[in-house]
């Protein structure tokens, strides 16, 4: 039983790594489409894309170790005279797998705990130091800032500096934008994406996480535009970007093509085009088909690696 469990775990980790490489390398092919569709739909699809390595790995393992399914998907072969359907097993992989899995779980748990403590501490301090103004917490500070903080029950914070520097219309846009973040649970969405990519090198997922954040911002901008207009939200963004420029730390460089610029251009130039459901269905079906098709080569690859000693057999 420990051999089977450690082999399944090893298979999951191996598949996670493999799918992680594939999704990281192929993202540039889907990126232009994702950035040009309805941002609300894009944020869901990007999260789906990021969930492919862990979910794909779990599905692959479940299928690979299910005798009923492997008889259709894995070419028959024998080991030491036994020709029964089987999942790849490696007796000596128990300890390396246990250590690797424990290390991954511990590092994710530690990062998550640090984020949670940071959130709890910040939320408590800001809520206590600020004044509850109903829909938001008002912070009596001259620095212009407005943000939504939290995962499950996010709170909106806005400084008096922001309120005094902006018109009523700007404040309406800002509050509508932050309310959209709160209602869409965008911080929780970003946390989930961050967890999906945590065991893989950060550089593999930087572009995808940036695009997810951009899509969440664009979706919230469009929600705010329903309260006023696209031009009003763009005007508020330009005004706040100018206000926040002096807050940049010394030595930081300014450059064009930033997320703020892309958000403003999306508001002023891009129509909202939703990807037809048929495309989404076709993409999910393709992903599942790919998983089924790679079961046989993956089974053989893991057995080969176990035989040559890379995976510990």
């Amino acid at each position: 039983m420990p051999t089977l469990l450690s082999s399944m775990l090893l298979c999951t980790l191996f598949a996670w790594l493999l799918f992680g490489i594939v999704t990281a390398k192929s993202y540039r092919w889907v990126q232009p489409t994702l950035l040009n569709i309805d941002p609300d739909q894009a944020s869901k699809l990007i999260l789906g894309w990021l969930s492919l390595p862990p979910l794909g790995a779990l599905i692959t393992t479940a299928v690979m170790y299910s005798p009923d399914l492997t008889q259709w998907l894995v070419a028959g072969h024998c080991h030491n005279g036994s020709c029964q359907q089987h999942g790849p097993q490696s007796a000596l992989a128990i300890w390396p797998t246990a250590i690797l899995a424990s290390w991954i779980c511990l590092s994710i748990g530690r990062c998550l705990l640090r984020q949670w403590l940071s959130l709890r501490h910040l939320s408590a301090e800001l809520s206590r130091a600020g004044r509850n103004a109903g829909a938001y917490v008002q912070l009596d500070d001259p620095q212009p800032a407005a943000f939504t903080l939290g995962w499950f029950n996010p709170k909106i914070f806005i400084t008096t500096g922001m309120q005094s520097a902006c018109s009523d219309q700007d404040i309406d846009c800002i509050l509508a934008h932050e309310r959209a973040h709160r209602d869409r649970l965008d911080n929780l969405r970003l946390l989930t994406a961050w967890l999906f990519t945590a065991p893989l090198p950060r550089s593999w997922s930087t572009a995808v996480l940036d695009d997810l954040r951009l899509s969440c911002e664009k979706a919230s901008d469009l929600n705010a535009a329903q309260v006023s207009s696209r031009e009003s939200v763009a005007a508020a963004l330009i005004r706040i970007a100018r206000l926040q420029r002096p807050a940049s730390p010394a030595g930081s460089l300014a450059f064009a093509g930033t997320q703020t610029e892309r958000r403003i251009r999306a508001l002023l130039e891009e129509p909202v085009v939703a990807l037809p459901n048929e495309y989404v269905f076709a993409s999910v079906s393709t992903a599942l088909l790919v998983i089924l098709v790679i079961i046989n080569p993956l089974h053989r690859a893991i057995e080969f690696l176990a035989q040559v000693g890379v995976l510990g057999s």
């Binding site: 130091a129 800002i174 031009e231 330009i238 926040q244 300014a254 064009a256 002023l268």
Partner: protein, 140 residues
């Protein structure tokens, strides 16, 4: 703001627990209070023993967030930082962390503080905005 030795106090805010914040709030509401009167001033869910309040005040004093002067047998405490100063430091900390990206999964800002957009780009976007407004007016 200077410390006892005449040097300037650090701009970074030490982490404050919930009771420490509640005590600071009580001191902002009524400056110059003893531990005993602070215990009475704390809101109902925060009720705790006198020794807990005293150790909280000791911690706040070590963090240089409260002054204390001896009156008779007891210390009288007052806040060294105004509510707005504390907020300024808190927000300063938040903005610094936003620049490093360490708050990414927990906070969404209206305009990303880490975004370094230059003035020329903002001017160009402003021109584009004016053009769109004009087009909309003509359409209407």
């Amino acid at each position: 703001m200077t410390n006892k030795k005449g040097g300037s106090l650090s701009n970074t805010l030490p982490q404050l627990g919930e009771l420490e914040l509640a005590v600071m709030q009580a001191l902002w509401a009524r400056p110059e209070q003893s531990a005993n009167s602070l215990l009475q001033a704390l809101p109902q869910p925060r009720k705790c023993s006198l020794s807990t309040v005293q150790s909280t005040l000791e911690r706040l004093h070590r963090k240089e967030l409260v002054h204390r002067t001896k009156q008779g047998h007891a210390y009288v405490y007052s806040a060294r930082l105004e509510r707005s100063q504390l907020l300024g430091r808190l927000l300063g900390g938040v903005i610094r962390q936003l620049h490093t990206g360490s708050l990414d999964p927990i906070l969404s800002s209206f305009v990303d503080f880490a975004d370094r957009i230059d003035e020329d780009t903002l001017d160009r976007l402003d021109e584009l905005l004016q053009k769109r407004k004009l087009e909309r007016r003509v359409d209407n």
